[in-house]
Point group: C2
Chain length 144, copies 2
């Protein structure tokens, strides 16, 4: 028993990167994304916000209000839009989503990387990079 | 001594995500990036390749040869291009770079997320998403 405790303590001390619990952060961010972008339910997504939302998407106004407008825009103009999360990579307070986003079913859509920073399990900052998927790619590997 | 060994073993067993050594992978990928994209030294970058290089950038031919051509293109057409790594996020075999890339000094440039997968400390797969930085962003936070 004592050895197990010592081992557990040694682990906790040896792995500081785990302190922010990236696995929990992944669940928070993917739930936020599913609720906000796919279900288009602002209230359900907004419970994951911290006291601020620093927005780096250059086409979105800063703050939580900007995200609210995005969800309303999607709900009205692209109710069938869907964002499929292809992979999730997390470290410390950061969660990265690699996403295939389609505004109308059947379109080629866009490749997106969304990056979130959390504080105490709440989303407080967001960056993204967005690129249209071209019709004739130079290789057969897809963008994902 | 025995307790230390037990603790070390417990750590190794309890933290499988550390097995791929993301910190070492970060050093490999940032060195690859610096040598290839900034110094434009294909040979120095190429030592980090594994036996294959699966390319998902839709404008690049598949494989190591495609990367060689990209470096030669930059060297000839944009010798002063520079890619500044803004943040590095790694988990398991994946390393994500958030990059500000400028082809000619003074340009606004592009926001890029590059994502690499490694096998045994060698780079074997690459994805990216690229977006021009707009002249008039909707917020003051920059894309980084």
């Amino acid at each position: 028993m004592l050895r197990a405790v010592i081992a557990a303590l040694a682990c906790a001390l040896a792995a500081p990167a785990l302190a922010a619990d990236p696995e929990t952060n992944k669940k928070i961010v993917t739930d936020f994304y599913e609720k906000g972008l796919n279900q288009k339910d602002f209230e359900a997504a907004a419970k994951h916000f911290g006291p601020k939302y620093i927005q780096h998407n250059p086409n979105a106004p800063d703050g939580i209000e900007g995200f609210k407008r995005l969800v309303a825009f999607l709900k009205e103009k692209f109710p069938n839009s869907h964002s499929e999360i292809k992979r999730v990579i997390a470290e410390g307070d950061y969660v990265v989503l690699h996403v295939h986003s389609v505004r109308e079913p059947g379109q080629r859509g866009r490749a997106i990387v969304d990056m979130f920073r959390l504080e105490n399990g709440k989303i407080v900052e967001h960056w993204d990079v967005i690129q249209d998927i071209p019709e004739k790619p130079a290789n057969d590997n897809t963008m994902f």
